[in-house]
């Protein structure tokens, strides 16, 4: 069965000078946690055929990150871009992505990174699945498609493995589903130069506005968002140095005791 996978990606801010994440082409890049998700989708495509769509919500600069996924091998790229979206929180982002996914349907699997390297909430993947009302698994390391013939009809499910802390879980999940991909599970492929050339000559990223996905303007942006970032503050962590004294054996014991108190080492 050939699959349609949709990978949701974000163009993240690499450095936020005074705590304000202003996006320019020079300081934006494809979220590093999204790369394994793109890789997972591409490997599924190689195994099963089908196609991969990359989807992103954000300002115009997001088309650069989308083109990068095309250079990796993604078939189609869609940017949801509308001035009214500025200031949207993760809930609005999830609703908008869900609306765009519905427009891009039918689909079999939606893939996300576990988090983003700039705002780092980890909320958009699970929230989008909730808005769409489809099953969700987080931290997925392995995805297999299982097909069976029932009454002459082909149907199937996903078999997935995910990692949470020190545990691995195996799940059977119905089509269609949404997942976040474990950051170390799928090493992203190196991007071929010809892929970059083809993705840009000419740039082929579809742009959808709010009207295209049927989301009312008053439900997005700052006014549509139940949460907002009031202020960003850079934290400075004070470092202390404590010298241990005594015989090596005693120093090791003191160090272990200290690490246990800190909760760094299990007792």
């Amino acid at each position: 069965m050939s699959l349609h996978c949709i990978v949701c990606i974000k163009s993240v801010v690499r450095e936020a000078p005074q705590g304000i994440g202003r996006r320019t082409p020079e300081n934006s890049e494809l979220n590093p946690y999204d790369r394994p998700a793109v890789e997972a989708a591409l490997r599924l495509k190689e195994l099963t055929g089908g196609r991969v769509t990359a989807l992103s919500m954000g300002p115009e600069v997001g088309s650069e990150a989308l083109a990068e996924t095309q250079a990796m091998g993604v078939d189609e790229a869609i940017l949801v871009n509308d001035p009214a979206l500025a200031g949207s929180d993760t809930l609005v982002t999830s609703r908008v992505l869900a609306a765009a996914v519905r427009r891009a349907a039918p689909f079999d699997l939606i893939l996300f990174g576990t988090r983003t390297s700039d705002s780092d909430t980890g909320q958009v993947g699970p929230q989008t699945a909730t808005v769409l009302g489809i099953p969700f698994l987080g931290g997925v390391k392995k995805i297999d498609q299982k097909l069976e013939q029932k009454l002459g009809q082909q149907s199937g499910h996903w078999e997935m493995k995910r990692q949470m802390d020190d545990w691995e879980e195996n799940w059977a999940v119905a089509f269609p589903a949404a997942v976040t991909i474990h950051p170390r599970a799928f090493k992203p492929r190196p991007i071929p130069l010809i892929g970059i050339a083809q993705a840009h000559d000419p740039l082929d990223v579809k742009t959808w506005g709010l009207a295209d996905i049927g989301v009312p303007i008053e439900e997005v942006g700052l006014q549509g968002s139940p949460t907002r970032v009031a202020q960003l503050e850079k934290l400075k962590r004070g470092r202390t140095c404590r010298m241990l004294e005594g015989e090596p054996q005693a120093q090791v014991e003191a160090l272990i005791a200290h690490l246990k108190t800190m909760g760094v080492m299990a007792s």
Partner: protein, 380 residues
């Protein structure tokens, strides 16, 4: 800072090449320099990714990119390993480019797909023991015989020489015709009489297998003549015009690497109770280095932009090569100075940058030859 000259494609390329080189070449760059070892394990990965056919057309297996992309790729590779930047620059610009520009359709089909994919490596064989800047004085010969050229040549300092499969040999096809008697024939490694000499033990760029290539009564097929009879010097000059952008980009990458290391070290090393970066003497050096690197980058990118526009590029490319190579020597020298005794030790990368930078003022036209080219253009 918003950069002029470059677009979204170039930004993606820069990030992609940087990430690839840091991962693949970064951990071995010092080792391959010290052991003078060509890293096939990485080169074999670079081939399928398109690094050996950057500007070659897609139909012939290349990446089909522009000159600006080429400059950025060479800059980023050289930032991690000058030797591999050199390998790519020579392969792409003075071996593959002349075949594309002067070769017949049949020659394109025969050589370009293998060269563009890195399955075969190219070399440019002009320099001889007694001939450097004065290319018209070469003594190699390719004399017409029945169905072949009988080639005798002693070519030295051939970049990629130890691994090259497809060699552009500059030789006299008509010894009586002076400058107009020089042509280019393509000799493939493995033919009878084709000898690869010992690898040179060089000061820098040590991971590149620079060697001599000697041809003793080699029978090179007639159809391996590149361009027209007597067009050799014109082909050489055209190749070097393109090559200059590559060498300038290479010098720029090395200079940038040295600046990065100097900044890191100046912020970390403490003397007189404060980081080096707080001392005005060091600040002056860093300011000069950053300015040189910035100016070099603007000149290199401008030359690449002109090339992409199809505008005359000789002067801009010569100025970029002259300036960037001189800047690389200055910047790497200051980086060593900022590192003090450690900078003179192999424990730090700056001594490698210092050695690698030096030859950029010598090869593909010395600084002095470039000043001649520039003066000719300026004075008319």
């Amino acid at each position: 800072m918003n950069e002029p000259f470059i677009n979204a494609k170039h930004r993606v390329l820069r990030r992609t090449v940087r990430a690839f080189c840091l991962e693949e070449l970064g951990p071995i760059a010092a080792e391959i320099d010290q052991e003078a070892r060509f890293p096939w394990e990485v080169v074999e990965k670079m081939g399928p990714l398109g690094y050996f056919g950057i500007q070659a057309p897609k139909e012939l297996g290349g990446a089909g990119l522009d000159a600006m992309s080429y400059a950025i790729i060479i800059e980023e590779v050289s930032r991690v390993s000058g030797s591999i930047g050199l390998c790519l620059s020579v392969h792409n610009s003075v071996a593959l480019y002349p075949i594309l520009a002067f070769g017949t359709a049949e020659q394109h089909q025969r050589w370009v797909p293998d060269l563009a994919s890195g399955r075969r490596i190219g070399a440019f064989c002009l320099t001889e023991p007694n001939v450097g800047s004065d290319a018209s004085a070469i003594s190699a010969t390719a004399l017409p015989a029945e169905d072949h050229w009988l080639v005798n040549a002693n070519k030295v300092f051939v970049t990629n020489g130890g691994i090259a499969d497809v060699c552009l040999i500059f030789a006299r096809t008509d010894p009586q015709a002076g400058r107009r008697g020089i042509s280019v024939v393509v000799a493939e490694r493995g033919i009878k009489g084709f000898v690869v000499g010992d690898l040179e033990d060089l000061c820098g760029m040590r991971a590149n297998p620079v060697s001599s290539i000697r041809l003793y009564d080699c029978r090179v097929p007639k159809e391996n003549l590149l361009g027209r009879l007597g067009q050799g010097l014109a082909i050489g000059l055209a190749a070097l015009d393109t090559g200059r952008i590559g060498i300038a980009a290479q010098a720029l990458g090395i200079a940038q690497a040295a600046l990065d290391e100097a900044i890191r070290y100046a912020n970390q090393r403490q003397q007189f109770g404060v980081p080096l970066a707080r001392h005005q003497a060091i600040q002056m050096m860093i300011a000069d280095m950053a300015t040189q690197v910035d100016a070099a980058r603007m000149m290199v990118y401008r030359a690449a932009m002109l090339k992409d526009q199809g505008a005359p590029v000789s002067r801009a490319a010569a100025q970029a090569k002259l300036f960037a190579s001189e800047a690389a020597c200055l910047v790497t020298d200051l980086a060593v100075q900022i590192h003090g005794g450690y900078g003179y030790s192999k424990a730090y990368a700056v001594e490698r940058y210092y050695r690698d930078a030096r030859v950029t003022r010598i090869y593909e036209g010395t600084s002095e030859v470039h000043r001649m080219v520039i003066a000719r253009e300026v004075l008319g």
